[in-house]
């Protein structure tokens, strides 16, 4: 792919990338913006290179996810070393930001709360497939799991989500 076309492609996919970054950062907006900015800089400065083995979107999403994970790991390490003697906050459950839930519409709020009771892998798969209209195969590549595992988690997650939504009666 022509490198000069990269900024344009990134800009085109920016809203979706932001949605994915937001997702990877448990809906913490500031964190998501920082992760996204770091990702863009990595790509534009050549630290992360697109090798063409997958689609640009799949690769970009994988880079965003990895950047978010690196950030989380760094924070965890810092917490382990320095916050030992301080009252450290445990990892916030999904979704952590009450503002996000409060500002969402009723339908989105019900969805976010229902997703909170699924496993992280199931959540990620459902998000990639339904939010970003990806195939399970593409999602499995981003999450670095086998296709079989991804299919199983996707089916289980979907079943569980349906059940919760039916129980809570979240209307659109």
């Amino acid at each position: 792919m022509d490198e000069s076309a990269l900024p344009g492609e990134l800009e085109r996919m920016h809203p979706a990338s932001f949605g994915w970054a937001l997702w990877c950062c448990n809906h913490r907006r500031e964190e998501a913006e920082e992760v996204l900015q770091t990702t863009y800089l990595k790509i534009l400065e050549g630290t992360a290179r697109f090798d063409g083995k997958s689609s640009l979107r799949t690769w970009l999403f994988a880079v965003i996810r990895r950047t978010a994970m690196e950030r989380r790991r760094r924070q965890w390490l810092r917490g382990q070393i320095f916050d030992r003697w301080q009252a450290s906050q445990p990892e916030a459950p999904f979704p952590p930001d009450p503002e996000t839930v409060a500002s969402a519409t009723e339908s989105s709020r019900a969805l976010l709360l229902a997703l909170a009771s699924l496993s992280a892998r199931q959540r990620d798969l459902l998000h990639l497939v339904f939010y970003h209209d990806m195939t399970v195969e593409e999602a499995s590549r981003i999450l670095k799991v086998s296709l079989g595992t991804a299919r199983t988690h996707f089916q289980r997650g979907k079943r569980q989500l349906r059940k919760i939504l039916a129980e809570t009666g979240g209307r659109k």
Partner: protein
């Protein structure tokens, strides 16, 4: 895709629209200066300083320690100059006789030699069986 899948998809689509509306401008995000990294806590600075000071102290004290434990003049003692502490045991009484050449006409003075000391312990007669 069944009706329930459509329901889930619609919910996700609604969420996507809400979040896309909140997304910052691409250019603005790119131009924004990277957020400064959080300052390292004081404990890290203190630990680094301690480590540096200990290292410097070790480096500074090492030459002095070596000087103190080396031979005078800064050179190591030659092995040929060394004598064992039990060397005097080899100097037996009368060994001078073996080292001197006798001269005709001059007699050896017996007095010049030290009388051997009789260190036999006196044993009490009544102690014997």
């Amino acid at each position: 895709m069944n009706r329930e899948d459509h329901d889930i998809r619609d919910r996700f689509a609604a969420l996507r629209q809400e979040e896309a509306a909140q997304a910052p401008e691409f250019e603005q995000l790119l131009r924004r200066a990277p957020r400064p990294r959080p300052e390292y806590p004081r404990i890290l600075i203190a630990a680094t300083l301690c480590l540096a000071l200990s290292f410097a102290a070790i480096l500074g004290l090492r030459p002095a320690f070596q000087r103190r434990h080396s031979a005078p003049g800064g050179t190591a003692l030659s092995i040929t100059a060394w004598t064992p502490p039990t060397d005097f045991l080899l100097d037996t009484p009368g060994s001078e006789l073996l080292r001197t050449v006798p001269v005709i006409g001059v007699g050896l003075k017996v007095e010049s030699f030290p009388k051997p000391e009789l260190n036999h312990r006196k044993v009490a007669r009544n102690a014997l069986p």
